[in-house]
Symmetry: none
């Protein structure tokens, strides 16, 4: 018998939910028909995870770090750097990164749409912005839809500046200001304001935007900068756990965290990071990747999107699609499989909540418990009890026979 | 009614396990016939302990400290000092101690057996080593079988040196080297290498070894030094909890931790620290010791040995013997009884794992739960839930009516 097992971690973003009246008080997960998950549950053990602590409402970035065993108190430096890495921008320590929304500014200079009419892609627009004349080197890339990332490179800059995004429409964007008295922060605020003004001018006259306006679509003629953060390298998964590792994810944030932690990013055709993603392709790719890597993380975003939209029926149906795509897991040997959420996104709230997320662990050596169905309240009765986000990796390493001894 | 109760903590080393096919998926504890433990469970409450945290794989030393309420992050300074105290060597702060294996070096200077053919005792051999001429004062004692402890005494020495034990046979022992640049570490490495070389010469010509070789047994002609640590006194159990206390244990590590924490060590004839130990004598002695002490710890090693040997049947049978020996507990009054493991030693792994250990607490005032059998998965459903190693002593003090108030 091989002592060491592989680890396959499946994260359904925003999986956890609350009772829904139209489901006779069941959650979307509880209401969903999930024969594969139930089989895994029957032959596995269940529990609940408080990803950042009991009742703490996690962000997407912090919760993902915690599930990988990186305490965000130590390793979280803002979302921007992870988005930028995920967008394919190389970074050096000290570079300052932002997540970017391509947005619409109306003729009065007010924000008309924070997502530029949910534009499909902004690659050409981002390219046009390379002409901006700035006193720092910079890099800007579009990712999916209206999203992208911007990095200011070099020395003498600081992430300690405010955002220009008021999160409202019909108002002028905010002026970016330093949040401390350092020359670096003042300098960066000034660089950012100048960058935004030049970007607005370049984007306004860009042919793609002219065409959009002709077609009565909102032009993507402005940038909203959020999640400013200074990049610092993280210790790698290999250094921390001795594992070769890979991530399969559609969304740039999760790719970025993978890159920051030295994981391979395996691209999957049709992995969109949204509800229309190619689930079967992702699952099959994950299974293949387990042949060459010790630790594979499969991130599925759709559950979260349906939660944010308050679409309980959609969330339930998506979970059923995930269940079907996981059929292939039945014949994975020598692998500890864990499936959980990074946080709850209750449809009733349309936002992240601090409700604990259900956890399912299956594989050789697991103390199989008596719970036969995967759902929030079934999981609460499971043999794993209630653990924290940072406990997950130690538990998986332990079950996989890969934990180092503390003491002798 | 007397408010304060006594506390009787029984630690079955390596008790926790994983499902075993030949036991139809039960663990050795679950498969064992344990009427006494089940009666204690029925009238008590159960739970799980993550001794060093969820999934963390505990050593024997760190886990024992945690169960006594001493955070190893603060109080663990290597295994050597505890082994030396347990072997009966007096220590002063700063003394550097090692655990010792008497081993066999072949004629080519290679390690032939790390345990010298599992020699029965080395007391005379250890005595012969007192003739070694070293520039520091030292003390060496044999404990059970091939085991012992060595202490370098005085100033100008450091525990920051490597071991000579590669854990392999058929290779030369490693040269001991300093792990930092201090003169103390360099000095200690040099002292240790010289000590080992002299020990080899003295042991080689010792009559006991001559006799062993004549009888085709491996001579115990070399020392492997491990677990280097510098001794520092710990706050006593009396200081921390206000309890008079005693330990009953066969193995020198647990006696050493008892001495370090100011507990009385009660010797029991036939307590071997192994599977052949006199369980009834240990239990009866513990019961008597409760007449004179507030807090008694009974440590039973055998469960761990069977786990390390991968002997599930042996582990199950040993647990049944423990159960029988605990019959006497039925009529202990005014005592909170807690029984748990210091870690899991699953037979399938033949080593410590980070799986949670089952906990049973019985005594006046305990919130008796509905669980009627003592086993890993029954414990997971118990009223105590899932706690950490450092939580155990506060809970026992609380139930015994001996906890100090935090605030007013």
């Amino acid at each position: 018998m091989k002592e060491e097992q592989k680890i396959f971690l499946i994260i359904l973003d925003g999986l956890g939910d609350r009772p829904i009246d139209s489901f006779t008080g069941q959650t979307p997960l509880e209401a969903a028909r999930t024969p594969v998950l139930n089989l895994l549950a029957e032959k596995g053990t269940l529990g609940l995870i408080d990803v950042e602590g009991v009742g703490v409402r996690p962000g997407s970035d912090t919760s993902y770090l915690s599930l990988l065993g990186y305490d965000p108190k130590e390793y979280y430096f803002g979302r921007g750097p992870f988005e930028a890495l995920g967008a394919g921008i190389n970074m050096n320590p000290g570079d300052v990164a932002f997540r970017v929304n391509f947005a619409t500014l109306d003729k009065k200079g007010k924000v008309a749409d924070r997502r530029a009419g949910r534009i499909e892609k902004c690659n050409e627009l981002a390219k046009a912005l390379e002409k901006i004349k700035s006193e720092v080197k910079f890099s800007i890339k579009a990712t999916r839809e209206h999203r992208g990332a911007l990095v200011f490179k070099g020395k003498g800059i600081s992430p300690n500046i405010t955002t220009n995004d008021s999160k409202n429409t019909g108002v002028k964007p905010l002026e970016i200001k330093p949040t401390d008295e350092t020359p670096e922060a003042k300098n960066t605020a000034s660089i950012a304001n100048d960058f935004l003004s030049q970007a607005n001018k370049l984007l306004d006259k860009h042919p793609e935007n002219k065409k959009r306006q002709k077609n009565k679509l909102q032009p993507a003629n402005y940038l909203l900068l959020r999640g400013a953060g200074s990049y610092h390298p993280l210790p790698s998964i290999k250094e921390r756990y001795g594992l070769t590792s890979a991530t399969i994810a559609g969304d740039s944030l999760y790719k970025g965290i993978a890159i920051a932690t030295g994981m391979d990013v395996v691209e999957v055709r049709g992995a969109t990071g949204a509800g229309d993603t190619n689930l079967l392709a992702k699952t099959l790719t994950a299974k293949n990747t387990l042949l060459t890597h010790d630790f594979v993380v499969l991130h599925i975003k759709g559950t979260d999107d349906f939660g944010h939209d308050g679409d309980a029926m959609g969330k339930k149906a998506f979970i059923e699609r995930v269940d079907a795509a996981l059929t292939e897991l039945a014949n994975i040997d020598n692998t500890i499989i864990a499936l959980t959420g990074d946080h709850s996104t209750p449809c009733a709230l349309k936002n992240h909540s601090g409700d604990a997320v259900p956890l399912l662990i299956n594989g050789r050596g697991v103390r199989v418990d008596s719970i036969q169905k995967f759902g929030e309240r079934d999981a609460a009765k499971g043999g794993m009890g209630r653990i924290r986000g940072l406990d997950l990796m130690p538990e998986l390493l332990n079950l996989a026979g890969r934990a180092k001894m503390y003491g002798t």
